[in-house]
Symmetry: C3
Subunit: 363 residues, 3 copies
């Protein structure tokens, strides 16, 4: 018992693992869907964190280059699982909203919190302007590429027509090619924002995990995410109806938080420790991986599943993506941050949140 307490003291997030049995019980005994939703959502948080920790542990054995690749692919495992299950359920709007939400969550919420808390602790914080500018350029280019098809789709045909499907596949192909090129660049030439080497807080470091143990934990926590995501997604539609919130709000604000809280915490912690370079790099890198890897992979997988997902976003998502990337680029080019800027970024995130909250489902 004592050892359990000291374990949870070291790994406070893992206390949320207790939500797993509650989620299973609520599912079996058909509790009200809102409880299933809440318990399974909470349970995903520590499981996603465990996937990350076991990936780090494996990366520590494979060396930094392969480790970077492992991080770049497995780092988004939880998010991929949730969205694939949502695609199977036909919740395509939710999936697209959560792609948007993951990107603006990184660029507005995490960057804003990092700059606010980091600035309150450390005053004005500087970071390497050249490196952050490089990252910002990639970010802007990739987000522009991501939103182009949405402008063309309306004129090319209805959602689901072969023209729009072809456009989405073409863009997904270009994106994934750019992702591979980016990995090659990172491996052969220099660091790039596409694959960041693993970052560990000492409190989460599990270097003592042997590879076999790391692989077991990775497999178990992945299985856990799959089951919890089934429960979560299975209850979404009833939650939308009973709470009166829109599918967009769940997709843009809640779903992305669930899968990424652990990573977000690392980014904010780095800012508080005055390592603003690393904090920004994590946020930008996460956004790029969503756009260049997760989104196109989902397009291809959705085809196999038979519920084709297109990269056609609605105009609220376009506004959120466009506004988020412009703000993040400005911040990165500035080379300095303070808590007032952080508060302003959070203000934009809150205003977007109010908008998505008031938006009716199907809006």
């Amino acid at each position: 018992m004592n050892s359990l307490i000291s374990y949870f003291r070291k790994h406070p997030l893992h206390i949320l693992l207790l939500a797993i049995p509650l989620s299973v019980v609520s599912e079996i005994f058909h509790w009200r869907p809102i409880w299933i939703f809440v318990f399974s959502a909470i349970a995903v948080i520590p499981l996603a964190s465990l996937i990350g920790e076991s990936t780090e542990a494996l990366a520590a054995y494979t060396g930094p280059k392969i480790g970077g690749l492992l991080n770049a692919t497995l780092g988004n495992a939880a998010e991929l699982i949730i969205t694939i299950i949502a695609i199977r359920q036909g919740l395509l709007d939710l999936v697209k909203a959560s792609i948007t939400g993951s990107i603006i969550g990184n660029l507005l919420l995490v960057m804003g919190l990092s700059m606010l808390l980091g600035g309150l602790k450390n005053g004005i914080q500087s970071f390497d302007r050249q490196q952050s500018s490089n990252h910002a350029v990639m970010l802007v280019v990739v987000i522009v590429a991501l939103i182009i098809p949405s402008f063309f789709s309306h004129s090319i045909g209805a959602e689901g027509s072969w023209g729009v499907e072809l456009l989405s596949l073409g863009v997904a192909g270009v994106m994934i090619a750019l992702y591979v090129v980016g990995l090659i660049y990172t491996l052969k030439v220099a660091r790039s924002p596409i694959a960041v080497a693993g970052v560990e807080l000492e409190s989460e470091a599990n270097r003592r995990w042997k590879p076999s143990r790391a692989i077991s934990i990775l497999a178990l926590s992945t299985l856990g995410v799959v089951i919890m995501s089934e429960f979560l997604i299975g209850s979404v539609e009833e939650v939308v109806v009973s709470l009166g919130v829109s599918e967009f709000f769940l997709g843009v604000i809640l779903i992305p938080l669930i899968g990424n809280i652990a990573e977000h915490l690392v980014s904010v912690t780095m800012a508080v420790r005055n390592n603003m370079d690393l904090s920004l790099e994590i946020a930008v890198s996460s956004s790029l991986q969503i756009a260049l890897f997760v989104a196109p992979i989902l397009v291809f997988i959705s085809l196999l599943i038979g519920n084709p997902l297109t990269l056609i976003f609605n105009r609220f998502e376009l506004l959120a993506l466009g506004g988020g990337v412009v703000i993040a680029a400005m911040v990165a080019f500035d080379g300095e941050s303070n808590w007032l800027e952080g508060a302003a970024l959070l203000g934009v995130y809150i205003i977007l949140g109010i908008g998505f909250f008031l938006l009716p489902t199907g809006g």
Copy 2:
């Protein structure tokens, strides 16, 4: 008589005070509305300037911190009065256009004139890139926040529905919170673009005004702006019809100029004196105060008046705001200006002016 001439030589703007009696006469004898409009518009210019001068004089006694607060709140008094009277008359389109116009007037017209005249006088002008970048970041973040609701409103409900009203109130609340946070930041931490310490040209300095005299002049000139604004707004609708110009053109181009010419002159004069840092700071700071203070205050006051104003702009205003802020941010990040850039900014302002001039009322 001689002393009057030497007074007007020192304070050339004050000669426009002669328009006050003309405005009163034209109102009493029911001259054609265009004359009432012209005289009262001209009369507002020196009165707005006197509000500014008496605020400066008070600020000189209160010290820089309280003085900065005085400036930040009273500096927009003339504009607030005109727009509140317009709200009472139900001219909500005019009010929203004048919010837009104040922002692009600062970012395109004043910045453009400053860079053009400053550049012609001083050649290429440099300014502190770090400080102007900081300002630009705040500017971009705030303008993005300001335009978000406009994109959501159409899907949330008709203008005037509770959803849109709630969205506007929510945004106004976030804005005013950010404004208060910005004032705290300026008072406690470091200079920020939200509240600039008072700037005086020697020719306008009235440090000899005692506080009692400053308060009297402040009260009288405020009263004068109230009366002149009543005449001005009372004649607007007939002017729109008889001249054939749109309400948008008056709101975007003319109304903002009337209330801000004195401040604009200070900014341009600073550029000609090769103090480009201060010139830019005034223009950016004015824009931020309109977005973070004037606009939300108008939303709240309009509710009390019973003519609720929403922060939902039309797409021309969105284009003007978006284009203006992107250009201003680029200029600020550049760290250098020349008269060609100034001419280009004025070109964009003229093109926007042509567009608003040709736009039919209700367009």
Copy 3:
């Protein structure tokens, strides 16, 4: 025969002159339009290059200032000729698409190729951040000015109404005024991105051309472009129908390439030789000349021809222009480039190309 081979070895582009007789033959004997289109398109490439070379040769005699003016006006001769002939044929959509295409061709295709090939050869390439920022500011301001009328047009009246025509003429007037002001700035004050001094690759240098010979070659190649453009434009409509590609695709992707390949090659070659400053300057300068000189000149000439062209772009063109300029500005402000960024720019160009390819004519 040997001298001819050694000539073509020195001037590989000129081998394409052989397409001229093929184009004439295909026109006379009424071959299928696709052949007329292909041969005349190929023939324009070396002719446009010869116009450039003879302009350079003349510029070498007139000195750098007049030479800069010659380059700024004659540098776009081929493009002007093609688009004027297209206007006479009433292909206004094609003309507007090719204005867009010339700008994004420079900002995405040429910059992307330059950064990709230059980066593969030279690693990370730096360039003068101050100069490229200055250029980027002008670019952003000018492109914002160019896209403003498109937002107003819908509300001002139908395409072809006097209001929209007036708006286009007003904007064209402001643009051309800004162009003249830019030339004055370049002549009197300092280098600016509006008129770049001529750039020659040694392999293309023809300094031995006497002025009389240069003028003869200029006249002959201009005449050649006129004839080839007649053939080219004459076959466009049938090619659109028979190939099933949209007029937009031809206008945005193909037509701009034909008239500018020689200049594009210079820009890419400069990047490979690690002169990134010059490479970027050529690309930005070309884009500015299209917006400030070619587009407004076409508006005025189209009025004389009686087929009035407006500066009202559709939303795909607006997206391409907006996205292209934001990306180019980011790159310019960055001060560094690498081949990953180059690949990303090409990715955006390809995605835009897919979009325009799938767009139905009239879309």
